[in-house]
Symmetry: C2
Subunit: 380 residues, 2 copies
Amino acid sequence: MIKKQLFSPGPTPVPERVLLAMAGPMMHHRDPGYEVLFQEVREGLKYVFQTKQEVLVLASSGTGAMEAAVCNTLSRGDEVLVVRGGKFGERWGEICEAYGVNVTPLDVTWGQAVDPGLIKKALDAKPAIKAVLVQASETSTGVMHPIKEIADIVKNRAGTILIVDAISALGVSDLPMDQWGIDVVVSGSQKALMLPPGLAFIALSAKAWGFAEKANLPKFYFNLKEELAVAQKNQSQFTPAISLIVGLREALKMLKEEGLENVFKRHALLARATREAAKALGLELLAPTAPSDALTAIKAPEGVDGKKLKKNFEDQFGLIIAGGQSQLKGKIIRIAHIGYFQSLDIIQAVSTLELVLKGLGYPVKLGAGVKVAEEILSAA
Amino acid sequence: MIKKQLFSPGPTPVPERVLLAMAGPMMHHRDPGYEVLFQEVREGLKYVFQTKQEVLVLASSGTGAMEAAVCNTLSRGDEVLVVRGGKFGERWGEICEAYGVNVTPLDVTWGQAVDPGLIKKALDAKPAIKAVLVQASETSTGVMHPIKEIADIVKNRAGTILIVDAISALGVSDLPMDQWGIDVVVSGSQKALMLPPGLAFIALSAKAWGFAEKANLPKFYFNLKEELAVAQKNQSQFTPAISLIVGLREALKMLKEEGLENVFKRHALLARATREAAKALGLELLAPTAPSDALTAIKAPEGVDGKKLKKNFEDQFGLIIAGGQSQLKGKIIRIAHIGYFQSLDIIQAVSTLELVLKGLGYPVKLGAGVKVAEEILSAA
């Protein structure tokens, strides 16, 4: 018998009460009961996004909302600056290019955070740049980019907006959209919101809505101006993913009950315990200086195949973690602690790491990582 | 106590075994178990679409797949013919216009089917027309358009494809994509596929894939060529709506168990019983000559407010039906029998119709509609 458990940075485990809520009979999205539910969801999303703006809900994966961010704020031939420090940074560039938006890439070594000074330099060199596109947490490397510092650079430039992919950052680390002056925040359901995939979220600042007035890229399903108009009446343009929205209400309740600040503290603690445990086992982190609290990327040690490591996590202990993508294939493993995770989950992950490494012949002192993790959890 | 029951043409009731399947713990879409599941789903979709082509699965509502049909087969400035006989016909036009595709509308009185002869005439008059866009079942009016006859006109024109919105027709009436030579078929999850909303489906003929090679409209999330490449490896470009796909496997199993031919017969029977019962009550059908078997649109009788009729269905008996949209607001009610419906469900709907009409002072002979419905069901 092997219990399968998700330790992947999306999809993440869905709490039982959310699963139960979604298992109820289908309701109709034009029903008064649904409008009450959606009103509650809208309030909850504003709380999690830390914004007074409307948070729009799309029936799509997170990438749909990334595309919506681009095609609703930009026009053909516009110049943008794209921070490319991982697979999802590259995706920003690919979306822009698909729409004929000119990309100036700012390439960052995978595993490192972008230097905000380079963003300032790029904007000074090319004042025509209309948007800076970046990840908050780059899921492919486990890096947290310095969003506050970047927002400080962008917010006083009238002709430039900051578009942030917060798919694996929202509900993990503090990212106060309004306070920091982020113009577009994008997220998805299958991360810290503890839901199945299938919903995406996007909020725009007043400045970004101004850009939306002039943006001429074609759009229909992802037309945010139209969506905004109906969302404020607790409706949606097209049939919403009703069951997921029913689950969303439950997940948002859970986050509200815990309190956003405690949610951030929990993620920070679990992330720190995971990182320190890995280091105690003599392992190297991919992102030692700017780690995301959503997941921990660990380099496969010399002589150990990262793919085999990932496979043994699942085959021997049922833990589904992630491997490396693109240039990092086979070189890292990624252990998630985003969403429905508590301290003992981390102990399981660290214990599995020890057991699997030992099984692969890597010289590991059993219990050494767990000890460090327990010390951190115990002190907290 | 009022049991709420969906009699709306989307969302439709979700069978208990599908709800249970979706309530299981979240799985990972890169897991070998998911690949087996998705392989099964792909086979099942080909069976329901009656095609050898790949049926692509998108995480979006049906409108997303409609947009995908347009932006993957057409280019800016292309000419298309759009059959506009209801709200969803209008939507085809709106999507094309959003992308700078030139629409020649073929307006049809709401409640009537398009005359295929007019399509032939329009194509002869403007041979540059690259696509004919039409609904199979127009959900806003309950009309079934003559797709086979339209396909016969389009299929021998090398420069024109037929794009069919089968959102409320697939799994209801026979629509053999390959045999009839339909080029693009679009559908959604929350209709005859008996699932919550959140998935859309699209299949392209070889001819349509040829058009896709030359189409230059921008797309990223809905890029079907990219999706095809990964679908054939049981993967998806972006995180799929996993829980809905788990439910889809169960729903497809149910359709397979019943057999597509029996599914069509069941829908035809329930639709006929509903229509004849309404007529027996002295009511007029909106689409008497070309009714869809997905839903029955009934005109609110003289002196009875359609909105009040719909409201009383729900408030007094818990039946959630649909009203009229746009120009039909307040003028019709729409009772669905698409998806998870059996004969006794129709008896409930007809009985409610009688009771609600009587309550509103309309001279109805109680039991007269039910009698006719029972006679039809009994003879079958």
